[in-house]
């Protein structure tokens, strides 16, 4: 019984999603919004369960369950909360976007819930079996969700690309796990950690963990494993893209935190340097590629690669592991809030225009047409840039601080430089929204309204961005 309590949030999501699959049958096609509301209700339940886990385990003990397959600690509970909030945010966006783009289907919500359940399980993983199963549990529904807008070709192709590269990545992951098992004779992360702490890490373990890093690098879109990202993020429906940039990233980093930062990886010098190099490459190329983009959606896709680089810098900072893990999870939360606000704007623009064209000209003069959207977008872009007083600044500050305290001064410096570079492409969008006149779209004003649920979501996300920027201690106290 206690075992079940430890994974209550994913349990609620899994059971609820399965039940929702049946309920969905009884709901007519033109009333699928009901399914979305039920799904949000389930996520609120999971949210409450996660808060309870946090509350009843104030000492922050690591509690193991199911024969050490899962654990619950503060990080797991916080990530559960992040995943539940992302899910609620995305579902609020779907109410208009999915209806307009004719993908308002019950299965959409069920599959998203399955994926969220897998992500929550990943946050609780204490064994490589759980890591693997949770990874597939959140990936396989995502492959389908990317292609849910079929027969639109770019959606189908985005799905196939994501699937093939995802399957390739899990090949590396599985082989890496096999070698790690061969080196230590166990799949339990804590036992592995003890063996590594005790003495020299065998070469087999290092190579195994390296292959695992390749597999997880694909999932979090680290350079040079990022090739799929722009096409997939661009081709997938915007609500799915919003989900992927925030939740998939957080789940991939949950795995990296468990295996590398809090696990055996942190004790192997060569792996830590490899992660630092990966972080540097990801920051540099993510930002440079983003500079060249004319489509806002593609620009945000590359920006999400760049942010994976900043997060990897946190994974490479192993001097004070607790501090780094806090910084990574805090950054994931801030990035989720920021990215959801930005994609909220994108999904509303996509609904207004009834297409998936996110060229810069679509955003020209947005401040005149729709000030609310323009301001939310500007706030989100400032936060992505790392402007002081926004959540993005606090997040980056904490990450770079932990990098510096681990002697990775060059990585922190590189992070600051690339953040400055990123200002160019973020500001370009802001300039287009506020300082340019739009000659083409003047009439036809009545479609430029913002739907209520999306507005609520964007308001909450913006409040979170500002609050985490002004009062970061709010969330940080939960770690203390």
């Amino acid at each position: 019984m206690q075992d079940l309590m430890l994974i209550l949030p994913p349990l609620i999501v899994f059971l609820g999603a399965t039940a929702l699959l049946l309920v969905d049958l009884k709901i007519a096609d033109d009333r699928k919004e009901t399914v979305a509301w039920i799904a949000m209700f389930l996520l609120v339940g999971a949210l409450i369960a996660a808060v309870m886990l946090l509350y009843f385990n104030r000492t922050g003990d690591v509690l193991y369950g199911f024969s050490n397959m899962i654990l619950t600690d503060r990080y797991a509970a916080l990530l559960d909360i992040v995943f539940a909030l992302i899910g609620i945010g995305v579902f609020l966006l779907t109410l208009r976007y999915n209806r307009v783009h004719q993908i308002m289907r019950g299965e959409f919500f069920v599959l998203t819930l399955f994926s969220i359940g897998g992500m929550m399980l990943m946050a609780h993983a204490a064994n490589l079996v759980t890591i693997f199963v949770a990874l597939e549990m959140f990936s396989i529904p995502l492959y389908v969700l990317c292609g849910v807008a079929r027969p639109r070709l770019d959606s189908e192709e985005s799905s196939l690309k994501y699937f093939l590269l995802g399957a390739f990545a899990s090949g590396f992951l599985v082989y890496g796990i096999a070698l790690m098992y061969g080196a230590t004779g166990t799949l339990d992360i804590a036992t592995m950690l003890k063996q590594v702490e005790r003495g020299q890490a065998p070469l087999l373990l290092v190579i195994g963990a390296g292959l695992m890093l390749v597999g997880l690098g694909f999932k979090v879109a680290a350079v040079p494993f990022h090739m799929w990202t722009p096409d997939v993020y661009d081709g997938a429906p915007t609500t799915v893209t919003a989900f992927m940039t925030t939740a998939t990233k957080a789940a991939g980093f949950a795995a990296l935190v468990r295996v590398f930062l809090l696990g055996p990886g942190a004790f192997v010098g060569s792996l830590v340097s490899a992660i630092a190099i990966l972080a540097a490459l990801t920051m540099i190329f993510g930002n440079l590629f983003a500079l060249a983009q004319r489509s806002v959606k593609r620009m945000l896709a590359y920006s999400s690669i760049a942010h994976a680089g900043y997060l990897l810098a946190g994974i490479a900072s192993v001097a004070n592991i607790g501090q780094s893990a806090n910084a990574v999870i805090f950054y994931l939360a801030t990035y989720a809030a920021t990215s959801l606000a930005a994609f909220g704007v994108l999904s509303e623009i996509g609904s207004m225009n009834r297409d998936e064209d996110h060229g810069l000209e679509r955003y020209t003069g947005l401040a005149k047409r729709n000030p609310a959207l323009a301001w939310v977008m500007a706030l989100a872009l400032f936060s992505l840039m790392g402007m002081p007083l926004t959540a993005g600044f606090t997040g980056k500050y904490l990450l770079f601080q932990s990098a510096v305290s681990s002697g990775l001064n060059w990585l922190a410096l590189l992070g600051v430089i690339t953040s400055v570079i990123s200002a160019f492409y973020y500001l370009r969008v802001i300039v287009h929204m506020f300082m340019k006149e739009d000659a083409t779209v003047a009439a036809n004003n009545e479609q430029y309204y913002v739907s209520k649920p999306s507005l609520v979501m964007m308001t909450l996300a913006s409040v979170a961005v500002v609050a985490l920027g002004l009062l970061p201690t709010l969330l940080l106290n939960m770690f203390a």
Partner: protein
């Protein structure tokens, strides 16, 4: 078998062939089959290591890999069928819609 080294070597060969196949092939079905070969190689390594360490964990992991592979195949082949209906091709290079 008294030594597992040759088995692990074989598994490394199969894994490499699978990885090269994924990288050189352009047809979605062929890429997918090469991925299956990679998973197969990993399974072989798991069983060999289970024998070396004298515990069952490796053999059990193989079950999970197989179950997950079955799920992947169901979704992957459905995707390939769906895209074939729209495009009448399974070549990844022709997925030019998303270039640039």
């Amino acid at each position: 078998m008294t030594s597992i080294e040759p088995v692990i070597l074989l598994s490394a060969v199969l894994f490499t062939i699978g990885a090269v196949g994924v990288l050189t092939r352009r047809n979605a079905l062929m890429i997918f089959m090469s991925v299956e070969l990679m998973l197969n190689a990993a399974n072989l390594a798991f069983v060999a290591f289970a024998q070396q360490w004298g515990n069952l964990d490796g053999q059990l992991f193989v079950f999970f890999v197989m179950a997950v592979a079955a799920a992947e195949v169901a979704v992957g082949l459905a995707l390939i069928v769906a895209i074939f209906r729209t495009k009448h091709s399974t070549d990844v290079d022709e997925l030019s819609q998303l270039r640039g």
